[in-house]
């Protein structure tokens, strides 16, 4: 069950950034998995090739995710959004394909330079503890705690600070925000920064917890995507709930049925929800 909690918290962290971007700027960033993997691989490379300590390695990983997120925004998303040659109604599809291709480019680069073998980041805390008779790696608890803390911080940032409120406002009514004299682009940059940090932390933690390879890019994007769709596009709390539903459903399947069928029930649930409640659990559109 602790395993399920840690996985869910990790999913939640990954999906939150993804949904935030969509909520605020209407961008479905399909290079999400690639950014997470880039963070984990950078943390691994820093630790085992440059021999920095674990904490710096993790920071470098998050830093790389931040840079990659900005690169995604400035090199891929923004030019499409600003383009006059692409009709407005087609921009979403362009962003979708653009980020998808960008993700594949990152994936191939990682595979080219670091091979497609899985890499693992050295855990920050080592060892195991007994919780109710279950031997649990300390790092798993650490992962869960960090995820919860970061999500709590995000909540504070969005609901309690001026910048956060601007972000929230932009997600509700972008035009209203511009009328209030706030520069929309600045808000986007803030959101992409938050996103980069979130994806980076999630990627590095995933690298410590399970390990990642360039193959993980697709499944990671897909899992974030399905969680976000399940929770309701753009709804942060919906994503959180959905992440826990998916995380536990997967873990329970793996324990009770077979590890081979782990992802199937969650996908079935997604289909069912799409039928009954197309806007997702807490969707508002």
């Amino acid at each position: 069950m602790i395993d399920g909690f840690a996985i869910s918290a990790l999913y939640a962290l990954g999906a939150t950034g993804f949904t935030l971007i969509f909520g605020v700027s209407g961008v479905l960033n399909l290079s999400h998995g690639a950014i997470m993997v880039a963070a984990a691989v950078a943390a691994w490379a820093a630790a085992s090739i440059l021999h920095v300590d674990t904490y710096s390695g993790a920071l470098i990983g998050v830093g790389v995710a931040l840079i990659t997120a900005f690169a995604t925004y400035f090199a891929v998303v923004k030019p499409i959004q600003d383009s006059r040659r692409i009709p407005n109604e087609e921009k979403e599809i362009f962003v979708l394909t653009g980020t998808l291709l960008w993700g594949i480019m990152i994936q191939e680069l990682i595979a080219y330079f670091f091979t497609n073998n899985a890499k693992t980041v050295l855990p920050i805390v080592e060892g195991v503890v007994d919780i109710l008779g279950v031997r649990t790696p300390r790092n798993e608890i650490f992962t869960a705690v960090v995820c919860c803390l970061v999500i709590a911080l995000l909540w504070l940032l969005v609901n309690r600070t001026r910048t956060g409120k601007a972000v929230l406002a932009a997600s509700m009514n972008p035009r209203g925000v511009t009328l209030l004299g706030l520069e929309l682009t600045n808000i986007y940059i803030v959101v992409w920064a938050i996103y980069g940090v979130l994806a980076g932390i999630a990627g590095v933690l995933l690298g410590m917890f399970l390990g990642v390879s360039s193959y993980s890019v697709g499944p990671l994007t897909a899992s974030a995507f399905s969680i976000v769709v399940l929770g309701g596009l753009g709804s942060v709390s919906g994503s959180l709930i959905a992440a826990f539903v998916v995380g536990y459903l997967e873990t329970i399947t793996a324990y009770l049925v077979s590890p081979a069928y782990r992802t199937i029930p969650a996908l079935l649930l997604l289909v069912v929800v799409m039928y009954i409640r197309p806007q997702g659990l807490l969707g508002r559109r």
């Binding site: 395993d3 996985i7 691994w44 630790a47 085992s48 191939e108 680069l109 595979a111 080219y112 091979t115 497609n116 073998n117 899985a118 890499k119 693992t120 980041v121 050295l122 855990p123 080592e126 060892g127 195991v128 031997r135 790696p137 790092n139 399970l210 390990g211 390879s213 360039s214 193959y215 993980s216 499944p219 873990t251 793996a254 324990y255 077979s258 590890p259 081979a260 782990r262």
Partner: protein
Amino acid sequence: MKNILPGALRIFLGAAALGALISGSGAAFAADPIKIGVIAEAQAIAGASIPQAAQLAADEINAKGGVDGRKIEIISYDNHSSSADSVRAFQRAVNEDKVNAVIASYISEVVLALEPWASRLKTPFVTPGAASNEISKSVHADYAKNKYTFHGYLTSAALALSVCDAAKDLLVDKMHMKSAVIMSEDAAWTKPLDVGYEECLPKIGLKVLDHIRFSPDTTDFTPIFNKIEGAKPDVIITGISHVGVQPTVQWKNQQVPIPMFGISSQATNETFGKDSNQAAEGVLYQGVSGPGVAVTPKSVPFAEGFRNKYGNYPSYAGYTAYDEVYYIADAVKRAGSTDADKLVDALEKTDWEGTIGRVQFYGKDDPFTHSIKYGKGLITGLMLQWQDGKQIAVWPKDVAKTDVKFPSFIKLTTN
């Protein structure tokens, strides 16, 4: 990055095609090179060594004057671990680049997809790393058609035997272990492997308590290890290749107190220690070679030569690919021609001391036709263990350097 390669390849191909036109189709001059196509997984560690090792062998042969004055030319193709790409590469290699033989892939699914093409295009084809029994069984089933395929690596059945032989000496006789759980990934090569395990483990005195097959895209192994621990076996017998780093790291992080023993292809790579942050410590794996292990007088010089040239030690498929270029060249010499049927006849008579042992192929009447022979004096394989960040041979006795050692979290249930 990726686009540079096909571009260069295209120019090269154009040149090769032009060359073929000028030299006149089919007319073999004495100085014509012997062309060997190498199709491999450039991004996977196991596959990346294949073209590199083949090139190394070709360079060595060419430096000594080639085969009867003919140079060996290696033409390599990246298959991106895909069967479809491999088939296209095979067709291009034969139809456009006019190769005389093909060395391809360490993935059984890919090799099984190429086998019918070797038959259709009548081109001798050797795999350096795939293991499925079906590869050589098909040759046996329809010899006239499929005789062009050779299995240059141990079959899954032989791999299971090798693991059991080592387990008997190391685990049963020395440590008095009595039970095991088989943990293998769901892939073509593990089906016969598992059958082999199920058959030979009880024979050596290890009772099989449970058998877990999991999807190769599994990322979280916690449930699997929990289930295994619940069965309380003395050892986990592994059959993994597509996964490796992840189960090993989680085995260590979760401090699963049961040793892992068996086939773990990724563990054969030198970089495995780094990729897993030394979680590999104590992992026992079957191999045909290892750094510093003198299986034959050729093993160490090859591994060192490879390292000097490419900066890292070869993967297991590197050793076999290197040997394959040599015995293909040897077969061409004995056949006196690169004619496919003559080459197949000559390859069947191969008796070559390579880097992993003495290579001979099973004949037409053996169920594993054209697969390399397993056994003492031929190829037996090795059992190696990761100790202090290095791969150390622990079996068989004549090459073993030290005893088996486990990290502190392993609790041996017997002694």
